[in-house]
């Protein structure tokens, strides 16, 4: 028997591309004449193609979920804590697929892509996509990879919404559904935060109604502010207190000086905002937050989530984090209640964590253990 890899890392990985010349009709009726889907895979697809796992990314994520692109990369993929040999999503067992969603800005067809009908970037003309459009394009990739059913579809936050949508739209093609720090729909407070972020972007003079690429600019300040707002809501007050407290980066409170002080938390947020605005597209941010706002699993089912889930055939694992106030444990419990009401197989864990919504990305012992226990039970 081959020795199992316990190094923990999938190592150096390269993105792959699927191009489809077949038009894709979106939920809003608009048609994309062609789509490019960028994705990564880790592990090996087994003989019966029964060990494939789909990872759905959240708002600012992409297809690079694990490993490194270059040996000198300082950071691995966004969910490297949970994907790899010997990790909860164990690449010794599973063939893991993660795709950049359409509307994204990391290679899959999105606002920065060239519109074949005009020869110019789509920009703000890129159609609004919904979570179900991401699922239907993930399904295109599934068919191209000749995967008859996913052993599991897994996602945190907005990714969890995609995982639930998979169960509803393709009930016979998903055997396990793992929904982490997510909700069947956003609350008014949550939509409000998204709207503040969008307003920061659209009020940037460099936004040009979304046609900034044609003007050779980018609304970097607006995007940075959007990210700063988002970032604060993804952390908990406790986490920020522990990480920064009232520590100063520069200046002094001494009486008799008029030197400005800068708190550590200010410089940290500014850095987060600047680095994000350097790598992310503003139209994508608007589109992704809109998709979040629109999502409502129960809308087509008389606002009854248990009816929405009635025809699903998967086993479910739902996880939330105690200090997450953006997607609070109560939202996860709503999913659990709907599943119990629909008589579905479901387990739920509320993990004690100070990290707020970001906890779903962070290595937390209990979360690691229970996630691994669930994944190990999956038959492939």
């Amino acid at each position: 028997m081959q020795q199992a890899d316990t190094s923990g890392s999938v190592g150096i990985v390269s993105p792959k591309t699927l191009y489809s010349a077949k038009p894709v009709t979106l939920a809003n009726g608009r048609v994309l004449p062609e789509v490019t889907l960028v994705y990564e895979t880790y592990g090996t697809l087994n003989e019966h193609h029964s060990n494939a796992v789909l990872i759905c990314h959240a708002l600012s994520g992409n297809h690079h979920a694990a490993g490194y692109h270059h040996p000198d990369d300082t950071k691995p993929g966004w969910w490297d804590n949970y994907i790899g040999p010997g990790k909860p999503i164990d690449t010794n067992r599973f063939f893991v697929v993660c795709m950049n969603n359409i509307g994204g800005c990391d290679g899959s067809t999105g606002p920065t892509s060239i519109n074949p009908e005009t020869g110019k970037p789509y920009g703000p003309d890129f159609p609004m996509v919904r979570v179900r459009d991401w699922v239907s394009t993930q399904h295109l990739l599934m068919e191209a990879l000749e995967i008859p059913s996913w052993a599991a579809v897994i996602g945190g936050s907005l990714g969890g919404m995609q995982a639930m949508r998979w169960c509803v739209d393709f009930p016979d093609k998903i055997r396990n559904c793992v929904v982490i720090a997510s909700a069947t729909k956003l609350t008014a407070q949550n939509i409000a935060f998204n709207e503040i972020a969008r307003s920061a972007i659209t009020s940037d003079p460099d936004f040009h109604d979304g046609r900034y690429l044609e003007h050779g600019t980018s609304p970097r300040n607006g995007l940075a502010i959007a990210r700063m707002i988002g970032h604060v809501t993804y952390l908990s007050g406790t986490a920020m207190g522990m990480k920064f407290g009232r520590d100063l980066r520069s200046g002094t409170f001494e009486v008799g000086t008029d030197k400005q002080v800068e708190f550590q938390v200010e410089s940290y947020l500014r850095y987060q905002g600047e680095s994000f605005s350097g790598r992310f597209d503003a139209n994508t941010y608007i589109l992704m937050t809109k998709a979040l706002d629109y999502f409502d699993l129960a809308r087509d089912f008389n606002d009854d989530a248990s009816k929405a889930l009635a025809a699903t055939n998967s086993h479910f694992l739902i996880v939330s984090f105690t200090s997450d106030w953006r997607f609070s444990p109560d939202r996860s419990k709503e999913i659990v209640d709907a599943l119990v009401r629909a008589n579905k197989s479901v387990s739920y864990a509320e993990v004690e964590a100070d990290n707020g919504h970001d906890a779903f990305l962070i290595s937390i012992e209990r979360y690691q253990t229970l996630f691994a226990a669930y994944m190990n039970r999956i038959t492939i």
Binding site: L317, K333, V336, D337, V340, R341, N343, S345, V346, S347, Y348, A349, E350, E352, R366, T369, L370, A373, Y374, N376, R377
Partner: protein
């Protein structure tokens, strides 16, 4: 498996929808799923036990029983089970009513504080009872609402709860012989099959 669980297992009908309050490591639900094809859910609060349930493939929901069962529909379970947990909750009477609201039937077991050994420890030694069955001292025990068989039956009468069946268990030879004559004195554990 504890002997009271054997009794509980016998009372669950095949194919039933079962809710197990304080399900521990999920052994009962696992066995009932295997032998009686039930659809079961366990509620548990201990992280390690929750992981053990998940590892067994038992549906487990992390929940503090003291937060109630308000999110479950009326009569949405064929049976609600609570084994050796009644004495550890904040409001046993409310939880009992809730169990009977969400379940068509309830199966409940608890240690009998009226057992003669408990009585002897309090009356002769003047100390809170400690036994194999109740191994905690007064300050660290999770068991905060002990009751006797007579106390429990009094509550059932007061709340018009129907006792469909009662089973009493003893571990030593004296108890085994005398438990049916005076359950409140000689039973270590009581199991009730209830409805409302």
């Amino acid at each position: 498996m504890r002997i009271d669980l054997d009794v509980v297992k016998g009372l669950i009908k095949p194919g039933a929808r079962v809710l197990d309050l304080g399900c521990g490591d999920g052994s009962l639900l696992e066995e009932l799923t295997r032998t009686k094809q039930i659809q079961g859910y366990g509620l548990e609060i201990d992280p390690d036990k929750i992981t053990r349930c998940i590892a067994k493939g038992v549906n487990v929901i992390e929940q503090d029983l003291d937060t109630g069962l308000g999110h479950f529909d009326n009569k949405s379970f064929d049976a609600v089970v609570m084994s050796q947990t009644l004495q550890a909750v904040n409001y046993p009477d409310i939880l009992l009513e809730e169990m009977l609201r969400v379940g068509k039937e309830c199966l409940i077991s608890f240690p009998n504080f009226g057992h003669w050994k408990c009585r002897l420890q309090i009356s002769l030694e003047g100390k809170m009872p400690v036994s194999n069955f109740m191994p905690y001292t007064w300050y660290n025990t999770p068991n905060i609402h002990f009751c006797t068989i007579d106390d429990f039956e009094g509550l059932c009468r007061e709340r018009s709860i129907n006792i469909l069946e009662r089973f009493v268990l003893g571990s030593n030879n004296i108890d085994k012989h005398l438990k049916n004559i005076n359950a409140n004195l000689f039973a270590e554990t009581a199991i009730y099959h209830l409805s409302k």
